[in-house]
């Protein structure tokens, strides 16, 4: 049988770095093939080469046994190769259906396409409203749009780059069902992920990359997770160290009966939210994106302020009316979900990005930036947090996602915060870096800081949190002790009132009632 896709000795060099070095792999029709590797291992470059967005320096790509001439994304799509980017290829100023229309050949029939999108997205349990502007969608919702866009094309080869990081366990199972069904129909799937359990559950074969080279191939279903991780990281993964939490007596952060209407048209109303975080503990906020997290984060970080100042308190002090800078003075540090744009200025150097929030840590003199101190501060973060960068002069955008995240987390932790607010700490970050970031967060809390982690990754929340809240449609649940709840229970609470899952709601309530 001819492979659907075959790579022969693909090599791609960038100034100062070999992104892909002599990579070969092949995928049969209907095969689900995993590409595993840490960030910076060359996975993304390889995917772009396969899709034609980037040209290889050497090597050959064959589709159904024939070399692909003059390879561009358009050629790929004509051959039936579709790709879901990790950083989404969506236009923000236009609607979902217009975005999808741009990559669909044929007549320009928005009404018909809208119906198709609604139907397809509901069938696969990923409901999206085709008329909404992408600008107003959360990361998770944008990913659904990307996946639905590809499925509309009935592809022959589907490339998915970390597709499950924002889905509930139930939605992941649904997606896997979809992917298996697609594979059974003959579609080949190239699945990029760092979640070993998912790769083991889904994929028939795997190619492991490290530093741009193939370090091994495996049959994930027959190989241990430990062995796969070793191939990826090249060393043993660090064990997570977590001592029991000793929460402080008074809450560092307390939110009481917070209600707010959204700033933009498609936002979520927050309804009567109460929660508290004590020093020395890590509290998680679980939920499918687009259920009010963005609105809540903006209010907690001070990006939006409230008239009623006593709704939010830090160390007992009413702060609702204070802006982000004033709250930071009280000991708040914040790592936002969007690294580039909110967490760091893409085109600025790391030392300049350090000054943005750490200027209070003695980086200014007489109101002027002290360059050498700022530079040393950035250098310190790079060393302590093992950030792969050329130095404080590198621009934020030149770093891989995981490395920039380590830098931003490092910058905030260096401020020795009393209250640490972090959204999606390991979104798109590889295993090694994610483990490091999680351990750093644990250490910070055990040193006495109050930590609130807002994440859509249940595995992560269950790994590091002492208590959990669940947010759904702007409402926050009662606090749940991690030791007394389960992924399934939280997963059901996350989708409590979603219409498409009504069948599961009653089930969920029963299950919870039984457990009680």
């Amino acid at each position: 049988m001819t492979p659907r896709l075959e790579l022969r000795s693909i090599t791609k060099r960038y100034p100062g770095i070999v992104a892909n070095d002599d990579i070969s792999l092949s995928i049969m029709p209907g095969e689900i093939h995993a590409v595993l590797g840490e960030n910076g291992a060359g996975k993304s470059t390889l995917m772009k080469i396969i899709y034609g967005a980037v040209q290889a320096d050497a090597g050959e790509i064959l589709c159904d046994g024939k070399p692909i001439p003059a390879h561009t994304p358009a050629v790929s799509r004509a051959l039936g190769i579709e790709m879901v980017y990790q950083h989404f290829a969506l236009f923000e100023s236009v609607t979902v259906v217009e975005n999808i229309a741009l990559s669909v050949a044929g007549s320009f029939d928005l009404a018909g396409l809208s119906r198709q999108i609604s139907e397809l997205s509901n069938r696969y349990g990923m409901p999206i409203d085709p008329q909404r502007r992408v600008h107003d969608l959360s990361v998770g919702e944008r990913q659904r749009v990307e996946i639905v866009r590809c499925l509309l094309q009935t592809p022959k080869l589907l490339i998915l780059d970390e597709p499950t990081s924002v889905l509930t366990p139930q939605a992941v199972q649904k997606l896997f069902g979809t992917l298996r069904q697609l594979a059974a129909e003959g579609c080949s799937i190239l699945y990029i992920s760092h979640k070993l359990d998912e790769v083991q559950a889904l994929c028939d074969s795997a190619t492991v990359l490290r530093n741009g080279r193939v370090t091994g191939t495996a049959r994930p279903k027959e190989t241990s997770a430990h062995e796969l991780a070793r191939l990826m990281v090249g060393a043993e993964l660090p064990e997570m160290h977590m001592s029991p939490a000793i929460p402080g007596e008074k809450p560092v952060l307390s939110v009481a009966a917070l209600s707010a209407s959204p700033a933009d048209t498609y936002g979520v109303d927050l309804k009567d939210i109460s929660l508290s975080v004590h020093g020395g503990e890590i509290v998680g906020l679980a939920g499918v994106s687009g259920n009010g997290q963005a609105e809540l984060i903006a209010l907690l970080s001070g990006e939006r302020t409230l008239r009623r100042s006593e709704t939010i308190r830090i160390d007992g002090k009413p702060v609702g009316h204070l802006n982000a800078s004033e709250r930071r003075k009280l000991g708040l540090a914040f790592v936002p979900e969007e690294r580039l744009g909110r967490g760091a200025v893409p085109t600025h150097a790391l030392w300049e990005n350090a000054v943005l929030t750490a200027h209070r840590a003695g980086l200014t003199r007489h109101g002027l930036v002290d360059r050498s101190r700022a530079s040393n501060f950035a250098k310190g973060i790079i060393e302590r947090f093992k950030v792969k960068a050329n130095g404080p002069q590198s621009t934020a955008q030149s770093l891989s996602g995981g490395n920039l995240q380590k830098f931003i987390v490092g910058r905030e932790i260096e401020l020795a915060p009393k209250l640490f607010l972090v959204a999606q700490p390991t979104w798109g970050v590889d295993v090694g870096a994610a483990a490091f970031i999680r351990q750093t967060i644990i250490d910070l809390s055990r040193a006495g800081a109050a930590v609130l982690v807002i994440s859509e990754e249940l595995d992560e929340l269950f790994e590091i949190c002492d208590r959990l809240y669940v947010i759904c449609q702007g409402q926050v649940s009662q606090s749940l002790a991690r030791s007394r709840t389960s992924r399934e229970e939280v997963g059901l609470m996350m989708t409590r009132t979603e219409r498409s899952e009504r069948g599961e709601i009653s089930m969920g309530r029963d299950a919870i009632a039984l457990q009680n």
Partner: protein, 306 residues
């Protein structure tokens, strides 16, 4: 009544060159390119159209000459800004100065005699209806063409796939490239369209509006067109209304001068520019709307990843 009709028709005519130039620039900017050289392209269009009339070419051919001169001028900008990725502000300003120089050089041979202006149409029956006839059915063909183009451009931008591609290229050329659209070619085409429209605007000035050659006869209309596009938040209907506002103020201040108002004439002459900008600033204050319609990649050079 006659005065009202005179002001109304005067407004429509005075607005016409702005409609051409601003709608052209609107398309260019929607693709993410900022061409500041409208004034230069308009002057080239004006000079070449005027030259063609003097050379004895028929009127439609003369107007076409003006349009083509605009396209050629815009290509100078295109090569600099899109192929060589020079700073778009600098390239546009250079084009504005270059166009004014070339047109002045050409114009030295034109003399000061007026030419026969573009004929106004007469539709038997319609043009003779009292009031309505002179208000709507006695303009020259280029006035109607401008309105037709307004409709076509609005339809193109918001109702066709090509228009959607153009707008999204302006938001994120990187994404458009990733999906597989030829960003540079799209931008070249829109820059050329902008040149064509600016050329038509210039031609209208020299062969219809004031059929007489005067150096720098655009008198800053290219810059006003540029401001119109920004303050109209990149939407065609607002461009049209802004152009009419400018036209109206132009005619009103002329009437005011004729009536001998006790206001310095220089101040009156400045009125249309001030009024247009003030009104447009006021209506474009809604930040959310501005952010939504602003072509996010405006004036940023794009090099396809390789």
């Amino acid at each position: 009544m006659d005065l009202f009709i005179a002001i109304f028709t005067g407004t429509i005519i005075a607005a016409t060159p702005l409609i051409y130039a601003a709608l052209g620039e609107l398309v260019v900017e929607n693709s993410g390119v900022l061409n500041l050289g409208i004034e230069g392209m308009m002057l080239m269009g004006a000079a070449f159209a005027f030259w063609a009339v003097i050379a004895g070419l028929p009127m439609p051919v003369a107007i076409l000459c003006g349009a083509l001169a605009g396209v050629v001028a815009s290509l100078l900008f295109g090569v600099l800004a899109l192929t060589f990725l020079t700073n778009q502000y600098a390239a546009g300003l250079a084009l504005a100065i270059f166009g004014s120089g070339v047109s002045a050089f050409l114009g030295r041979g034109f003399g000061s005699a007026p030419i026969d202006a573009l004929k106004r149409i007469r539709i038997p029956g319609l043009s003779d209806i009292p009031v309505v006839g002179p208000m709507f059915f006695r303009f020259d063909p280029m006035v109607y063409l401008a309105l037709l183009l307004f409709g076509l451009i609005t339809w193109f931008l918001y109702r066709t796939k090509a228009g959607l591609i153009l707008r999204t290229t302006g938001e994120s050329p990187e994404t458009a490239h990733a999906i597989g659209y030829p960003v540079i070619r799209i931008r070249y085409l829109s820059v050329m369209f902008g040149g064509l429209m600016a050329g038509l605007a210039g031609a209208y000035l020299s062969v219809a509006y004031t059929p007489l050659w005067v150096e720098n006869m655009t008198a800053g209309k290219g810059w006003i067109a540029l401001a119109l596009v920004v303050f109209a938040t990149w939407r065609p209907l607002r461009v049209l209304l802004g152009a009419w506002l400018f036209g109206g103020m132009t005619i009103l201040q002329l009437q005011g001068q004729a009536l001998g108002l006790a206001v310095p004439s220089e101040l009156l002459s400045a009125l249309p520019y001030i009024a247009t900008i003030v009104v447009l600033v006021v209506i474009s204050r809604n930040r959310q709307i501005l952010a939504l319609h602003f072509p996010a990649s405006l004036a940023r050079p794009f090099r396809p990843a390789s």
